[in-house]
Assembly symmetry: C2
Homo-oligomer: 344 residues x 2
């Protein structure tokens, strides 16, 4: 069974005393085959359990109806959802997805990209690693005439199609909400600043404070607090200050926010009365913690949809496709108990 030979169009042609070209035409249903032989060919194909060899036809046509995806982690909620959203639309269009994960390693990301280039995918959809160093591999995609769409974590300086959240705006909304609830000393847990998304969230934080005439305090801005562990650490330091914050914006993730909540509870700060909390991503669990956590929904599935639609629109238009174009998906502030000082 291992070395069983597959049926090819030549096998079908031989059996019917026809030429392979006729079989090909019958199968692809293009003109120039009589109805009678077409039926004959289709029946024999089914009978012989024929399955077309995509490798061959893709090689010939120079396209393989495939979109390659490179993400840091497949099993991270946000990325899994974006991929699900992508899959929905690509499937409708008869395309396939090849998925790679860079595991937050720059070297591995480069390898993934190269593999996808070799596979001649029609488009590469990428969200770069936190470990991002150079953009040569990204530019190389374009050099090979492959459509490129960056999303969420993007290399700003490369001109490509981009689908992003408006991180700055959502931060502004989150902070404004906290301020409107009466919180006055708002701390920030930052992510690595080499990633655009974390830079933008910080900008939003700073701008919101400025708008409301609140002075910033360097003591309240914690760098690199982007895992639950790091966040626990940072929160402990913040809450030990002689003048501790009365709210914490965990701009990196809901996991960080969860860390904040745990430490706060342990240290006897009541949430939201003494400490307001806002996370980021709207992970499923934020709804069921006590108190539930205020957070920002990134509409990840919609984002996936938008990326795929962008590709199919751009790819089908004959226009120059390299016109830089940025699609902004508006995130949504989900207000829950952890930031409702008013009502507590």
């Amino acid at each position: 069974m291992k070395n069983q030979k597959r049926t090819t169009i030549y096998d079908i042609a031989r059996k019917l005393n026809l030429n392979a070209s006729s079989v090909s035409r019958a199968l692809s249903n293009t003109s120039k085959v009589s109805e009678a032989t077409k039926k004959l060919i289709l029946d024999t194909a089914k009978e012989m359990n024929y399955q077309p060899n995509s490798l061959a036809s893709n090689l010939r046509r120079g396209s393989n109806r495939t979109i390659g995806v490179v993400v840091p982690r497949i099993n991270q909620n946000f990325f899994a959802n974006v991929i699900a959203g992508l899959e929905e639309i690509t499937y409708e269009n008869g395309y396939n997805l090849v998925i790679c994960q860079s595991n937050e390693s720059y070297e591995r990301e480069v390898e993934c990209v190269n593999t996808l280039i070799n596979q001649q995918v029609n488009c590469i959809v990428i969200s770069v690693t936190a470990d991002f160093k150079e953009d040569a591999h990204i530019r190389n995609i374009q050099k090979h005439g492959i459509q490129l769409i960056q999303f969420d974590r993007v290399a700003d300086e490369v001109d490509t199609l981009k689908v992003v959240n408006d991180n700055k705006q959502s931060s502004i909304e989150a902070i404004s909400h906290l301020i409107s609830q009466g919180y006055k000393r708002i701390a920030l847990l930052e992510g690595p600043q080499n990633l655009n998304i974390f830079r933008q969230r910080k900008e939003g934080y700073l701008e919101a404070l400025a708008i409301h005439g609140i002075e910033t305090d360097p003591l309240l801005m914690k760098k690199n607090a982007w895992t639950k562990e790091l966040s626990v650490e940072a929160t402990r330091e913040l809450l030990s200050l002689s003048n501790p914050p009365d709210a914490i914006f965990a701009s990196t993730s809901d996991f960080s926010a969860l860390g904040v909540l745990e430490v706060a509870t342990k240290m006897g700060f009541s949430v939201p009365k003494q400490l307001g909390i806002c996370g980021y991503s709207n992970e499923a669990f934020t709804e069921i913690t006590s108190p539930s956590i205020t957070t920002i929904d990134q509409h990840s599935i919609k984002m996936g949809n938008a990326i795929a639609r962008l590709y199919f629109k751009e790819a089908k238009s004959e226009a120059e496709f390299s016109v830089p174009k940025i699609i902004n998906i508006k995130p949504e502030l989900i207000i829950r108990a952890s930031s409702l000082k008013d009502k507590s």
Copy 2:
């Protein structure tokens, strides 16, 4: 830029006044090329930004170093983790993953499988839909000489490599634990019985009760309660019985268990004092509900690893690979507050 031509080995050969075969040999680093020309070729390849065309070489070699995966939903925790586990090992071996989701639709599953067959993947890894009808498409994979590994939700009657959880055993452990805590009327939320995993979990439930000499009560076994909504419904009915259960085993998922918890709380049953709860899958949130939920961890990442390792072991052995072989991953009962009657 759109129609930019890619560099091929012929371009390199022409530039160096060599034959393409030498270029190919130099690049694949097989013998029979002098060190001098090899260096020359490699340098020119880099200079010309050459990327091999995998389609061509795969066609020629008849293999494309790719594993196809078909799962019901990419963004479901369990599957996302299995995929992550798969990816880890396949990457180490220089293979790629092509991922498809069937969206719990049988028709779509068949399509996915066909696409993967056409793509000549080396192996198909599949977990079937709840909507499972016939196994012709699964058998077809084998007919085409493609390695096949089923996992978790498997079509029992097809002889293939399988990687599964011991669902029956884990159910027995869960129920035994509940009994040991003093619960006496234990209800079961079942999943669709056309899926092996749900049948096994039910078997385990029945067997555990039998072992402990507890009679079963048909009123306590709720069919098809496998989403949070259905589970909420079922729980409401159960708790409205004149003689309600004192524990509920949500064998379908933690989401169902969450539904149980919510209804119980709303109806004034205190958990775990009056009602014990056990879920399934160890979703992240089970740790942070109040009370936290007892559940069963399926070791999903390890499962993905095991599947991939199985393939690479079987694929490399020259032995008949179709020997049916089943790998059992032992799930682990994670005991949390929701089932600790003793201490409450």
